[in-house]
């Protein structure tokens, strides 16, 4: 039996060279194009997905390391684009070109899941690996804070 990988709730056989980074398995094999290529070296965060809930740079993790794991991509973050962060991103009109934003949102989602009362410094530290060349950082921070604030209110 071929090894499988669970992506957004669906099992997919790993039918490629096991050294292939997850990014290219997603983009070229499955044609899930929401996850972006920015640097290929773990330096920009455009390719961020969740591996068992943990933000991971898909461009540098080989598919062989992921057999039996659960992957969430931007396409699987929520059913109808209604994750609180997705809503906050619209509320704050974050995207410019939008290319980095899937990675930004995935990174922020995994971080907020472990820290729902982040300080500004926590946000900086968590989001430092995600580059936005268009310069939307101010809005990203505001969007993350607004979600964190709502989460904190719920508790």
């Amino acid at each position: 039996m071929a090894k499988t990988i669970n992506i957004n709730g669906v099992e997919h056989p790993i039918d490629v060279d096991e050294n292939m980074p997850l990014l290219w398995f997603l983009r070229d094999r499955l044609e899930f194009i929401g996850t972006k290529f920015g640097c290929g070296s773990g330096l920009c965060g455009a390719c961020t997905v969740h591996v068992d809930g943990q933000a991971t740079r898909s461009c540098i993790i080989p598919i062989s390391a992921l057999a039996g794991k659960s992957i969430t991509t931007i396409e699987g973050l929520s059913a109808d684009g209604d994750h609180p962060l997705q809503k906050a991103w619209l509320e704050h009109n974050v995207p410019q070109c939008g290319y980095c934003q899937a990675g930004q949102i995935m990174n922020a989602a995994s971080f907020l899941a472990t820290n729902d009362k982040p300080t500004d410094e926590d946000i900086d530290n968590a989001m430092q690996g995600n580059i936005c060349r268009c310069g939307t950082y101010q809005r990203i921070k505001k969007a993350i804070k607004s979600v964190a604030y709502d989460l904190a209110k719920e508790v």
Binding site: M20, F37, A102
Partner: protein, 754 residues
């Protein structure tokens, strides 16, 4: 269909002599004339050389879905159910143009923005006007035609409504996707009227709204596609997938002008999944490929891996002598001695010898690479009888030109689907990567996606010029400037088109010669600076270093004159002398002073600050827009922390206040990257940098609090993609000086040693 509408439509048909199965006999020649006329007005008397015909080409027929009934111009497609599809002719790369321009159409048309879908138009300048997107020119060129297209459509819908209501046109008006009969408040939806409206001629000179009637123009409108972005559904040049598509990766000669000596393909061709190795030779066009070797494979990863194993040898050619460290030092020498005269007014030498004080300084900056988050990418499919391109691009027209030349076909036979660009900043104006994909597609006879690696993106760019400037100025007893000598040396963009050029030509110094400071006694000179790499437009272009030199030097003069910088700048503007056009100069002075005052007021410059903090200010006029920035920093040793940026803009009538604000936030980030960190260095002719670790663009922890203040203006709208970048660096340098007494004249301030 509403029975009254049907009735009116039948009546109209009966009145027509010809075949009534053709529903849209629009008088093309009339609308053609109409648009030509309006375009020549919009461009200040210069015919732009294009027409926007009504729906008359097969192209539009193909694009329009079956139910589109009303199509008075290439941009507007109204369906019977009221859905309105608007095409954006200018290329979108994040600057928000595909929201701004369609919103102007919708506003004039009285369309409901909720019913609007925006699509990116294919490359077709006949239908959409000039599409090459750069120079912050989209709004300047297209605002008026877009409004007129919308207003014309509205008038046609009103005429249709009046027919149905059997009343005079004067009794009807349009509001929010309806035509309303004033007399009895009867309403008809735009969709219902679509077929009937299509039967009116396109009005030549539609009446435009007045400012107080705007619904979308000047408001904060959400970006039309942001919902797609947050769900990962927005597709970019890199995202096109076609059946049977192959994937390619490419390596270029590291040195400009070098050629391929040899490539050992055998081992790589044995690799599983590798399809071919393709050699790409340059063609004679400045935007064509530099030449390279590509590997084609079943997926991008195999292509990249195989490419890494390919043994390629290059003949590096004469530019292998290029070392930026030495080159920059030489530029400094070249501007610190007399150079070639460009412009002279009055008598600088006399002003200098009669002065109370003299100041001189030299400023430098390095090469920059655009590094948009989406690297260069496209899909091309060359077939015997067609060539189709899906590309992130700023210039569909240049793609057509280059591929037509390469394939020996007509430009109009190259179909270019303009994809959303994941950032571009000037890089994607030059589509060498599309040319390469075409060469590969032709050779393997299949659609090909070529994605450049980040390393190739950094090493095979069209770089912002490395530069040096030297300024000398004299002051009188009152601290007023009496003379100004300005020398610049940099390899210019013109070197792309003109081989052997050994310095920037006079027109590349236009921003010096025509600066609103407009000194009486003035001299500009251009120093020796041959190009050893490709030079290109980078967001804000020469305004980056001109803004830096003017803005920083003005601060140095203020200090010498013992005035606060805001007073000093106001004095400089007040004492400036119009060079050619008095009225234009007076306007420049007035608008420059207004943004200066606005930024100064909000920043609190002049107030007491804690030790180690300072506020610096600079104004720059570029791309017909005025921007002033006040930067508030905290300096502690080498640690420079930007706290706040107050940014005041005057770009005439703003189209979208939220989009304008976003452009300024982005300009601050790009300005901060290039002021503090980024520089492309060459060693032995090749770029040393390779990825974001050694080209460290700004990250989130550096983000200051940016506040944008927009002048409410009725002037003609001008662009904002670029003008925000220039004033940041000088304002930062001035702020650091105010905080610490250290003056930085070389960018970037904190270079990495690579």
């Amino acid at each position: 269909m509403n029975e009254h509408v049907l009735h009116a439509l039948n009546e109209w048909k009966a009145s027509q002599k010809q075949d009534d199965t053709i529903p849209t006999p629009i008088d093309t020649s009339m609308s053609r004339r109409g648009f030509l006329k309006t375009m020549s007005i919009a461009s200040g008397g210069l015919a732009l050389g294009f027409t926007i015909p009504a729906c008359s080409t097969t192209e539009t027929k193909k694009q329009a879905s079956a139910e589109v009934k009303f199509n008075p111009s290439g941009f507007i497609h109204l369906s019977e159910n009221g859905d309105l599809l608007l095409y954006c002719g200018r290329c979108e790369m994040g600057q928000g143009i595909s929201t701004a321009l369609p919103s102007a159409v919708a506003d004039e048309m009285e369309a409901d923005w909720q019913r609007v879908t925006v699509k990116q138009a294919d490359g077709n300048k006949e239908l959409y006007g000039p599409q090459n997107t750069g120079g912050s020119a989209s709004i300047r060129k297209m605002y008026q035609p877009m409004r007129e297209a919308g207003a014309a459509a509205k008038e046609m819908l009103i005429i249709a409504g009046a027919k149905v209501f059997k009343t005079d046109v004067e009794n009807c008006y349009a509001e929010n996707h309806f035509v309303i009969n004033k007399l009895n408040n009867q309403k008809l939806g735009f969709g219902e009227l679509a077929s009937l409206a299509a039967n009116s001629p396109v009005p030549e000179k539609p009446t435009l709204k007045t400012k107080d009637q705007f619904k979308y123009i000047g408001k904060a409108l959400d970006r039309h596609d942001q919902g797609l972005v947050v769900e990962g559904k927005r597709t970019y040049g890199v995202d096109t997938k076609l059946p049977g598509m192959k994937y390619a990766a490419i390596s270029h000669c590291p040195v400009l002008g070098g050629t391929l000596k040899s490539v050992d393909k055998d081992a790589v061709l044995q690799m599983q999944g590798v399809i071919d190795v393709v050699e790409i030779t340059p063609i004679k066009h400045p935007f064509s490929s530099l030449g390279g070797v590509a590997v084609v494979a079943d997926n991008s990863w195999i292509a990249q891996r195989a490419l890494a194993q390919l043994k390629i040898e290059w003949d590096l050619g004469p530019n292998k002598v290029y070392n930026t460290k030495e080159y920059k030092a030489q530029l400094v020498k070249n501007v610190e001695k007399p150079a070639e005269l460009v412009t002279e007014r009055g008598d600088v030498a006399k002003a200098f010898s009669n002065s109370a004080a003299k100041v001189s300084a030299t400023y430098t900056g390095g090469h920059l690479c655009h590094a948009p988050m989406e690297p260069n990418a496209s899909v091309v499919w060359v077939q015997n009888d067609s060539c189709e391109v899906w590309a992130s691009t700023q210039s569909p027209e240049d793609i057509q030109t280059v591929l037509a030349q390469y394939l020996g076909r007509e430009a109009k036979d190259i179909t270019v689907h303009v994809m959303m660009a994941g950032g571009a900043f000037g890089r994607k104006f030059k589509c060498d990567y599309v040319h390469e994909a075409a060469v590969i597609s032709k050779q393997i006879n299949a659609p090909v996606q070529l994605i450049w690696s980040r390393e190739e993106d950094m090493r095979t760019g069209y770089y912002h010029s490395i530069n040096a400037q030297h300024i000398e100025a004299s002051l009188d007893e009152q601290g007023n400037i009496t003379g100004w000598l300005h020398r610049a040396a940099f390899p210019s963009i013109v070197s792309l088109f003109q081989q052997g050029l050994d310095r920037a030509p006079a027109n590349a110094l236009g921003q010096i010669d025509n600066h609103p400071f407009a000194f009486n006694n003035f001299r500009s000179e251009t120093g020796y600076a041959p190009a050893h790499t490709r030079i290109g437009w980078y967001r804000a272009v020469y305004a980056i270093f001109y803004g830096f030199a003017f803005g920083t030097f003005a601060d140095e003069l203020a200090y010498k004159a013992g005035k606060d910088p805001v007073t000093f700048l106001n004095d400089v503007y007040d004492n400036s002398t119009p060079i050619k056009n008095k009225r234009k100069h007076a306007e420049q002075v007035q608008r420059s002073k207004a943004v200066l005052a606005l930024a100064a007021k909000h920043s609190g410059i002049g107030k007491e600050l804690p030790k180690g903090e300072g506020i610096g200010i600079a104004v720059h006029y570029s791309f017909n827009s005025y921007v002033a920035m006040a930067v508030h920093v905290k300096v502690d040793g080498d640690n420079i922390k930007v706290l706040n940026v107050d940014c005041a803009i005057d770009c005439g009538q703003v189209l979208n206040t939220d989009g304008a604000t976003a452009q300024m936030e982005g300009a601050v980030v790009m300005g901060m990257s290039l002021s503090l960190y980024t520089e492309i260095s060459f060693k032995d002719g090749a770029v040393v940098n390779s990825n974001f670790h050694d080209y460290p663009v700004m990250r989130t922890s550096d983000m200051p609090n940016v506040r944008v203040h927009i002048v409410d203006s009725d002037e003609k709208p001008t662009g904002l993609g670029e003008p925000g970048v220039a004033p940041f660096a000088p304002a930062l340098s001035n702020a650091i000086f105010a905080a610490s007494g250290t003056r930085y004249r070389d960018l970037p301030i904190k270079p990495l040693t690579v």
